[in-house]
Every structure is written in C-alpha cells, then in structure tokens.
C-alpha cells in the first residue's frame, strides 16, 4: 500500500492556516516521510492527481468558479477537513454578507467591471459535505497534526470542545471579565488557543468561533451591564466568525 495522499487547497483566505503546516518545523520532514503531499502549492511544485485520502481546505467560497472547484475537490477526496475561520465560517470577508457588495467594489476598485465575486462569503460546508471542521483564526497547529493523524488512524480527533473560560481556569488566570470588567468573548468562544488574550490582560476576541449552545444573549447583556457600549458589543461579534448563527444574532 502506498503512502496516504494529502492535498491542501486554498480559497479566499490569508494563507495563515496552511502556513501552520509549514510552521510544524519539528514534524514537517517526518510528516512528508509518512504522507505523500499530493497538492500543496505553497510548499511544492509537484502535483498528483486524486483520489486524495485527506483534503485540507483553507478559505471561504466567494466566487462562482470556487463554488465549482470545491465540488470537484469533494469528488476527488475521501475525507475533507475545513480548516480555519474562513473555511468554517466565511472569515472576516463574510462582513460583505451584511453589506452591499456593489458598493464595496466601487469603494475599493476603480473598474468594478473587472471584479467578479459572489455577494457572500460562505463556509465550505454550505457547498459540500465536510467530515470535520477545525476552527480558529488561525487554527492551532497541534490540532492540525492531530486531525491528520486521527483521520489516518480512523479514530476521533481529540480537539477541545469546551470554552476559553475553561482554558483560563486551567491556566489559573484571573477572570478579566469579572475582575477587570474587560469585554471578553471567552464564555461563548471555543477553546483551542490556550486562552491567549486573557493571559495578557486582554478580553478574548472570539477567533475560534462559538462553542456549541453558546449563550451569547446572556454574555451580550453582561457586557452592556459592565459598561461596554452597544456598538462595541455588536462589533465584537461581527468579526472573524461573524457568519455563524450564534454570533450573527448578536449584531443583526
């Protein structure tokens, strides 16, 4: 049996999640010994045809061509894993979903006729079936290795499903929301970063997206009670994971 084939695909994104793979400096050469990198433009000129055992997909769907390309990738892949806030929630560029894209185009570009784009930025799962979604802006590189290894071993990946609050408790952080009244999305945000922001006296800004059953309404009320302005509360939810139902309902 040959080595399993891994493909990495890019859609509208900053490249940061696929860069996380190249940031596995200690593991990179070992990974390439165990796995055939069949498509990964940022790393290699080599390309192999499918089928692929695993396709990692970075970025959101924002053009008609990309909406077709993702369907083709699905057909060629046994397992599709969407990585990062763009692929799992539409990313920061999903702010267009709440605006007039025509106006956006004329605001940035002199020749709107040269620009071809959909009016929305949508996650991969809006277009195809996805076996797994790995959240984060960017994803945690250890989680990335874990999902690849777990998929190949045909077991469930061990990815935390609790909130940032629990990571703070594990680190022994004083609660910035309670003690310092800092605006913090930790209670409704998925763990995964290691509570980076509260550890540096900053409120969580939600890069890992909502936890399941996040009680965002309660948090919004608490933030307002703590003196955070209504417009700021809305802006906090309206960033990298705006296009998730849990966060969206707090600003729309």
């Amino acid at each position: 049996m040959g080595k399993p084939k891994l493909a990495v695909w890019k859609f509208a994104s900053c490249d940061g999640c696929q860069l996380s793979i190249l940031d596995c400096e200690d593991e990179l050469l070992a990974i390439t010994e165990a796995i055939e990198v069949a498509n990964f433009a940022e790393m290699t000129r080599k390309t192999l045809d499918g089928p692929y055992d695993i396709s990692l997909v970075e970025g959101s769907i924002t053009t008609a061509e990309d909406a077709q390309r993702i369907v083709d990738i699905r057909k060629a892949s046994q397992t599709v894993i969407a990585i990062g806030a763009c692929a799992t929630a539409g990313g920061i560029q999903a702010l267009r979903n709440y605006a007039d894209v025509g106006e956006y185009i004329t605001a940035v570009y002199a020749h709107p006729e040269y620009i071809s784009t959909l009016t929305t930025s949508r996650p991969i799962s809006d277009f195809i079936k996805v076996e797994l979604e790995l959240h984060g802006c960017p994803v945690n590189k250890e989680h990335l290795i874990e999902v690849i290894v777990a998929t190949l071993a045909q077991r469930k990946p061990r990815i935390p499903r609790f909130s940032v609050c629990e990571e703070c408790k594990m680190k022994g952080n004083t609660c910035v929301l309670v003690a310092d009244k800092l605006p913090c999305l930790g209670p409704v945000t998925s763990a995964g970063c290691g509570a980076l922001c509260p550890s540096i006296s900053r409120g969580c800004y939600g890069c890992f997206g909502p936890t399941e059953k996040a009680n965002t309404a309660s948090l919004s009320a608490q933030l307002r009670k703590n003196g955070t302005s209504d417009s700021k509360v809305k802006r906090m939810f309206k960033t990298f994971n705006a296009n998730t139902k849990e966060f969206e309902r707090e600003f729309s």
């Binding site: 050469l29 940035v108 570009y109 970063c193």
Partner: protein, 434 residues
C-alpha cells in the same frame, strides 16, 4: 497543473505557481521568436478590507488587517498602529518602539527563512520543493527549519502567537513580556545567528544568472539603524518623502483581470521595494556581522541582480538575529506597556518594512475614532510592474530555451521578489505563449 498547447505560436500555461504565498497568474506571449507581451495577473478573490474597515473603531485595524496575510501579519499591525497614532497626533518611541522592532524581527526571520529555504532555494538546485532538497542536503533544511522555529518562538513570546499575534495594540502592547521570558530565547537566537551567517555563505555560492535591472528602488531609511518599523521613504532616484507625501505621489491604477491595484510613482515609473531596495539604500546601516557577511559573500551596494535577492534576504536575516539579541540584552519592559490616548478626527499615515517590501496604511478617523476611510498599499502590488520588467529581461535573454526550462526560469524570477499575493489579493499562474 500544466497544460501545454501549440497553436502556431508556442504556449505554456501553468495554473497555480507553486511556492509563493497566495495565487496569481503570469502570461508571456512569444511570436516568431519575439517577446510580445508579459502580464502578471492577480486574481485572488477580493476580500474588501478597505471597504469593511469603514465604520470600525480605531482600535480594530491591528487585529483586522493582520488577517490580510498570515505570513506577514505584524507588518500590517505595525503600519496600522503608526497610521492611527499619526491621525491622533501620538508618537510612540523608546521602549515600546524597541519592543515593536523586536516583534518585527521575529516576523522577518520566519518569513525570510521560509522563503529562502522552503520556497526559493529549491529553484537553484532544480528541485520541486524543500522536501527534495532535504534528501540531498538535510543539514541545510534542518538549519532553516530551526531558524524559522526560533523566529516564530520570538513572535510567540512578544506577540502571543506567531500567526496573527494578539498582543499588538494601538499605542503599544496589551502586556509587556518579562525580561526573563525573552532571555530564555538568547541561546537559540545566538545559535541561529551562526546558522544565518552560514546561510549567507551557502546561498552566495549558488549559480546566478547575469541579470541587471535599472528601475528605481524604494525603501525606508532612517539615521540610526537598518529600517524595519520606522523611517522616511527614499528612492535610488533621489526621492525622500514622508508616508503622506509618498501616498500622494504614487498612483494606484486598477488593471483588467486583477484584484490588486498596481502602484506607480507619478504614474509612470516602475519601482521596486523589498530586500534589494533596503539593502541598496541602507548598506551603511547593516549591523556589524551582517556587514561582514555581505563583504565575505562578495555582494555590494549597487547590486541590481534580482536573482541575488536570496543573498540579501539571508543578510537581512543576520540583521534580524543581531537586532533581536541586542534588543533582548538591553530590554527593559515598557511600563505602561502602551500609550493610552483619545483618537482625534483626521488623516493618519503609517509606513513600515514588511519582509517583502514597503507597506503603507492611511486612515481617516472621525472625532469618536471611527474609521471613515482606509487605504492599504501592500508591497506586492507595488512590485508587480517591476516583476513584469524582470520577466521581460529573463524571457528576452533566454528565448531559445525549452519551454519547460523557460517556465521554471520565469517562476524563479517571480520568486526572487517573494510576492505575497495573499496580501495584494492573490493567485499566480504562469502562462507562456510562444
């Protein structure tokens, strides 16, 4: 994916140039042995940052604009901070500025080393990637990965995270790292400095085609040090401009089938930013060991061969390691870690040196600190026209080469400038018609 067609005139079509950050396309057409047309296209789907920044608070651009590019988020964060501080009449200096420079050194290290070892060096061995390079010179690739890791570690300690650091705040940092935490990095930084010096020697022995360019070079300069996080904008054609004057001087034009905007000085001159520009305009301000390494490698100010940017990038990696070590050894945590200020209505400008070139931000704020207008000029959209000039030279000088070889040559010529197409908007295809 490669697709070769012959239609009387030869055609090479490569969709998705590998080993660059982001996605774009190149078209070269040769008819009857004559170069007809060169065009570098950028058609990464537009993401509209400048549009949705309007209405956001002055505190948000460091986090939001970082997401333009996962490879150089700090460049966006730093130019954003400078522009917003400028609009509000605030100047950050001293220990906070030093800490910014230290964080930026981490970004230069990881980005330059990524480019030199994983993206660019394989070209000089005729290889497809760094994995194949490791098969013939594992030691070299392992040294590269070690340096890259140390650069990322530095970003984690100062910025909280290597990709999209969380600690950068308008006015400074949310929290200053402890001296002890930084000192723990010193051994690895010193070992990396040795590796970086070795890398200058390693790459300077590569074989370089003889290509000379003449377009003006544009980079920050300042009196005290090699420019990273501050300076005024200078050019080899004798310009010396503030970021405001520069932004008023360049003309961004929107060309067909591109989601990036081309920048030109006075709407006519092609110009180049990045390592070759910095090296030429700041040779005298290289750090001591970097200067020595440059002399030993035989590269001098005045070198205009874009294929030798790989040497300049390793020399700048030496600069970044030397500076990181100096800044840590002299470090006193800024206290407070940021300047607290009220935003003012007005326009502000910021310019810093991303690993791949000059990056400018301009914001107009209202009296509440809400952004009314944003403009971001990334390095690659400035360099796009210069890259096309290089391609013309390369194709004209090698018009008789086999198509496959010519294609590879063109790809290397593009990689010379480490284009970050994610930054400008994004996708690089090579498509040669000949």
């Amino acid at each position: 994916m490669k697709n070769i067609e012959e239609t009387g005139s030869r055609t090479i079509d490569v969709h998705g140039l590998a080993r660059v950050e982001g996605e774009g396309a190149l078209h070269v057409r040769i008819e009857s042995g004559e170069l007809q047309h060169v065009e570098l296209e950028i058609f990464e789907p537009p993401r509209f940052f400048e549009a949705f920044l309007r209405g956001r608070s002055f505190e948000e651009p460091p986090d939001i604009t970082a997401r333009i590019c996962g490879i150089c988020p700090v460049a966006y964060q730093m130019s954003a901070c400078l522009a917003i501080e400028d609009a509000s009449g605030v100047e950050v200096s001293g220990e906070i500025q030093d800490l910014r420079r230290l964080l930026y050194c981490g970004e230069w290290i990881q980005s330059h080393v990524l480019h030199v070892f994983l993206l660019h060096a394989p070209d000089f061995f005729g290889l497809e990637d760094a994995v194949d390079l490791a098969k013939i010179d594992k030691n070299a690739v392992e040294r590269g990965l070690f340096m890259k890791k140390v650069g990322n570690k530095l970003m984690e300690v100062v910025g909280g995270r290597a990709i999209h650091p969380v600690n950068v705040k308008v006015g400074g940092f949310y929290s200053a790292p402890k001296k002890k935490e930084l000192e723990l990095l010193l051994d690895d930084l010193k070992k990396s400095l040795d590796y970086a010096l070795w890398a200058v020697d390693w790459v300077s022995k590569f074989e370089f085609p003889d290509v000379e360019t003449s377009y003006p070079l544009v980079a920050l300069i300042n009196e005290s040090n090699y420019p990273i996080e501050s300076g005024v904008i200078a050019s080899t054609s004798g310009l010396e401009l503030s970021p405001k004057e520069f932004l008023d001087t360049i003309v961004e034009s929107h060309v067909a089938r591109s989601s990036a905007l081309h920048a030109k000085l006075y709407d006519q001159d092609v110009y180049l930013t990045g390592p070759m520009a910095r090296f030429n305009l700041n040779y005298e301000r290289l750090t001591p060991m970097a200067k020595q390494a440059a002399i030993s490698s035989g590269i001098e100010a005045g070198c205009r061969n874009p294929f030798k940017t790989i040497i300049m990038r390793t020399i700048e990696t030496v600069v970044a390691f030397e500076e990181a070590i100096r800044l840590i050894e002299n470090y006193t945590p800024p206290n407070p870690s940021y300047i607290d200020f009220k935003p003012k209505a007005g326009m502000g400008y910021g310019a810093t040196e991303a690993p791949r070139g000059l990056i400018l931000h301009r914001y107009e704020l209202d009296s509440e600190g809400i952004i009314k207008q944003a403009q971001i000029v990334p390095p690659t959209s400035q360099n796009q026209a210069a890259i096309e000039e290089d391609l013309k030279k390369v194709v004209e000088a090698n018009i008789g080469l086999e198509l496959e070889d010519l294609t590879k040559y063109c790809e290397t010529a593009i990689r010379n400038h480490d284009p970050c197409i994610s930054c400008s908007a994004h996708f690089l295809d090579v498509d040669i018609d000949s």
